[in-house]
């Protein structure tokens, strides 16, 4: 039996899904989309049930990627039962989706959630009367307390096992619309294709001239796909792929033209159908909902008075974001340090074993300086990323993230971006990897792509660390602060410029709308925070480790061959020498170029590379920076800082961009854009500075 879980965003669907499937779930992406696909097999009543968690949507039109995925699943896969989750505190809009589901799927069970939230807002819903009004079974659940979930499933299974589809009432449409729907129904009734879907739904979609009507899709069998070792947590699932099998021309073109002449265009039909559904909901609403004192101020009203206040809104946001950053990227430092030390210790142990086994020195060095050092450098960031993800889930689930998007939208508008991009960009100051991953909350794929590509221009915590060490050495005292601020302003300016530029490069048919729900605040459950945190961290590691391993080995080979050579004579050193001609116009010597080449894996290594090249202890950042002062003018140092801040942040961010954009082309574009932009700006600053008489 196949059961699909559907509902609006923020309705508690994932809680229900997590409780029912436990750890027995597969998380991946929908074929060709970056929308998460979650499914799980559960055993009930001597049967294997495939439960699929469809993305949260407001309707079944094809507005966002989430809606396309949901609709295609319902149309093409035809689940046996749909478990429709409904938010009792916001029942009118939630029922709009339920009515659409009811027209399309004959077997539906409603799970009524958030009754407590509704109660605090003065709303009482009588679930038995709701069931009567819609003629659909309704189960009350408290997802956060894991109550009623099993009953919800039992009811779905019962409905799934019925011999005949239960009859649900048709939505009564106003007469002039109803007549037109029925005329279309009569025309379609004789087509063989039409037997696949409920006739009434088909007639409405035909009138709305829905492109998918008339198409038959075939799912490509699993065996063609590479899915050799399914992983219990985060294997990419089995993305169901479809191909168009045939396209049937349905009757009714003449009728559609006749209606159009009467003023009933497809837009008009869409509006009339939507309107009729809302009218119907308003009509039946008093049968099951009692709303006492609708103007009573709720908790959300009171909190929003502060959080969204024109005066306090931004200070509160800065405090919240600072706390998140402090916990994720500063307070977590000992954890990261512990990971590095553990890696170093493990490397020592393994090397000791190798020595005992008389392994060649090359292999020992590969293991210690290549694999363990390289992978360890990336692993040290994992605690930061995990803690950040936990806060991200907390903010998303509690409802704060939407508020941050509301407050940040003004700035994003200047860049032609969506309010939700704000959070991704702010996250970039912590670490670009979660920043890029946070673009998943954006509905429009083009907005996502642009946000993803400009994110690396934002200096992350490790880069800021290196930058401040260099600034302190070259520009002591209060001048340092001015220099640092000027660098940050430059990065923001370039982020803005790049967003506007990319807006022209990335073709976009229609500007995405900023119509965003501000959900009621509520306390998320521990499970809802820790589960996604674990999944995201694990999938980051799983995706990145092969790349990081390979890259670490490559860097080790480049930097240690020919064997025994000094750093400038190694292959990487020579590369720096060859690249010196690029650095020359910017006043960089070969050492800086070598450091830039090495910085590609992880930029925080730049200082230690420079330390080796300048012949100072590799672990004292102050002394390295001091050594640099002898070799560079302040203007040269400033140019270096600019280039350093702007070129590709690290290998992990490039890998993440590739995984999130699913496009090698755009990833290469991003890398090239970063490199070219950083050197152009560096050149401008170096020569502009010289003209202005700086040294």
């Amino acid at each position: 039996m196949k059961i699909a879980l559907m509902g609006n965003p923020n309705v508690g669907k994932s809680t229900v899904f997590n409780v029912l499937t436990g750890s027995n779930q597969q998380v991946g992406n929908w074929a060709g989309k970056t929308v998460e696909r979650k499914s799980g097999i559960i055993h009930r009543a001597n049967e294997d049930i495939e439960l699929i968690d469809l993305p949260g949507t407001y309707s079944l039109t094809a507005y966002s990627q989430e809606e396309i995925v949901t609709r295609e699943y319902i149309l093409r896969e035809k689940p046996d039962v749909v478990m429709a989750m409904v938010d009792a505190s916001n029942i009118e809009r939630n029922l709009y989706l339920v009515l659409q589901i009811l027209e399309l799927a004959p077997r539906v069970v409603i799970g009524l959630n958030m009754m407590d939230l509704a109660k605090s807002a003065g709303i009482t819903i009588h679930s038995n009367k709701l069931a009567l009004a819609l003629n659909v079974p309704v189960v009350e659940i408290v997802a956060a307390k894991e109550q009623g979930i099993e009953e919800f499933l039992t009811e779905a299974i019962r409905v799934g096992k019925l011999k005949k589809d239960p009859l649900s009432d048709d939505i009564p449409y106003p007469e002039e619309l109803e007549n037109r729907i029925q005329a279309m129904e009569r025309l379609l009734a004789d087509t063989i294709w039409a037997t696949k879907y409920p006739l009434r739904w088909l007639a409405i979609k035909r009138l709305e001239q829905d492109p998918e009507i008339g198409q038959t899709w075939k799912s490509i069998p699993h065996t063609n796909q590479r899915n050799k070792n399914p992983d219990p947590c985060c294997d990419p699932g089995d993305p169901v792929k479809y191909e168009l099998q045939e396209s049937v021309t349905l009757p009714g073109d003449a009728l559609l033209q006749a209606y159009e002449a009467e003023g009933w265009t497809k837009d008009h039909f869409e509006m009339a159908v939507a309107d009729a559904k809302y009218q119907y909901i308003s009509k039946i609403l008093p049968e099951f909902r009692i709303h006492e004192n609708p103007v009573k101020r709720t908790w959300t009203d009171r909190l929003d008075e502060w959080i969204l206040s024109p005066f306090w809104g931004y200070p509160i946001m800065i405090v919240i974001l600072s706390l998140v950053f402090w916990f994720s990227f500063v307070a977590s430092a000992p954890l990261g340090g512990a990971v590095s030390e553990a890696m170093a210790w493990a490397a020592d142990v393994i090397v000791a074993i190798m020595q005992w086994g008389h392994m060649p020195d090359v292999i020992q060095s590969l293991v210690r300086d290549g694999i363990f050092a390289g992978v360890g450098a990336v692993l040290a960031f994992v605690p930061q990323i995990a803690i950040f993800f936990a806060f991200f889930s907390l903010m998303q689930d509690s409802g704060y993230l939407a508020r941050a998007a509301f407050l940040g939208d003004r700035f994003m508008q200047l860049m032609g971006l969506h309010g939700k991009s704000f959070f991704s960009l702010v996250s970039g100051f912590g670490c670009n990897v979660p920043g890029i991953m946070a673009t998943r909350t954006l509905e429009d794929p083009k907005d996502r792509l642009i946000t993803m590509l400009i994110n690396p221009l934002i200096p992350c915590v490790p880069r800021l660390g290196v930058m401040s060490a260099v600034v302190a050495a070259f520009f002591p005292g209060s001048r340092g602060a001015v220099i640092m601020v000027s660098l940050l302003l430059l990065s923001m300016l370039l982020v803005m410029f790049s967003a506007l530029l990319l807006r022209r490069v990335v073709k976009q048919k229609e500007r995405s709308a900023f119509v965003m729900e501000l959900p009621l605040y509520h306390m998320p459950t521990m499970r809802n925070i820790l589960f996604p945190t674990w999944q995201k961290t694990y999938s980051f590691l799983k995706r990145a480790w092969t790349f990081i391993l390979v890259a670490s080995i490559v860097v080790w080979v480049l930097s240690s061959y020919p064997q025994g050579a000094s750093m400038n004579a190694t292959w990487a050193g020579k590369m720096g020498g060859w690249l010196a001609f690029i650095g020359q116009p910017l006043g960089f010597d070969w050492r800086i170029m070598v450091a830039i080449v090495f910085g590609f894996t992880a930029k925080e290594t730049t200082l230690s590379t420079l330390g080796i090249l300048y012949g100072v202890a590799a672990d004292a950042s102050q002394s390295i920076a001091q050594a640099m002062t002898g070799a560079m003018t302040p203007l040269g140092a400033y140019t270096f800082l600019v280039v350093y801040m702007l070129y590709i942040p690290c290998l992990a961010s490039v890998v993440t961009t590739y995984k999130e954009s699913r496009s090698l082309g755009w990833t290469s574009f991003g890398v090239a854009y970063n490199l070219i932009l950083s050197f152009i700006i560096g050149w401008l600053i170096f020569h502009g500075g010289q003209v202005l008489g700086f040294q």
Binding site: Y58, S59, A274, Y278, L308, D409, R410, E510, V515
Partner: protein
């Protein structure tokens, strides 16, 4: 009295008359419950010319001013003075 939604002051309520323009934006608004006849209250404006927070059907929505300028509303005469809650 017909006005655009973006011209309403915080606390004012109005009934939706029609939505101008078409395409994805209008469909999106319909999905969120903005259809003719629905009562909308402007709760607040984000600072610096940012989006509007509006309330309809008992929930909150954020929309940009440009999008609100596509929604033609009708303010009931007597109610507009009482609506400040």
């Amino acid at each position: 009295m017909e006005r655009f939604l973006q011209d309403l002051k915080p606390g004012e309520r109005a009934r939706v008359e029609r939505i101008e323009g078409g395409g994805a934006l209008r469909r999106r608004m319909m999905d969120m419950g903005i259809v003719p006849g629905v009562e909308i209250e402007v709760v607040r404006y984000a600072p610096l010319g940012g989006p509007l927070q509006i309330r309809l059907k008992g929930y909150y929505l954020a929309m940009r001013r440009g999008e609100c300028a596509k929604i033609m509303v009708c303010v009931p005469r007597q109610e507009s003075s009482l609506a400040v809650v």
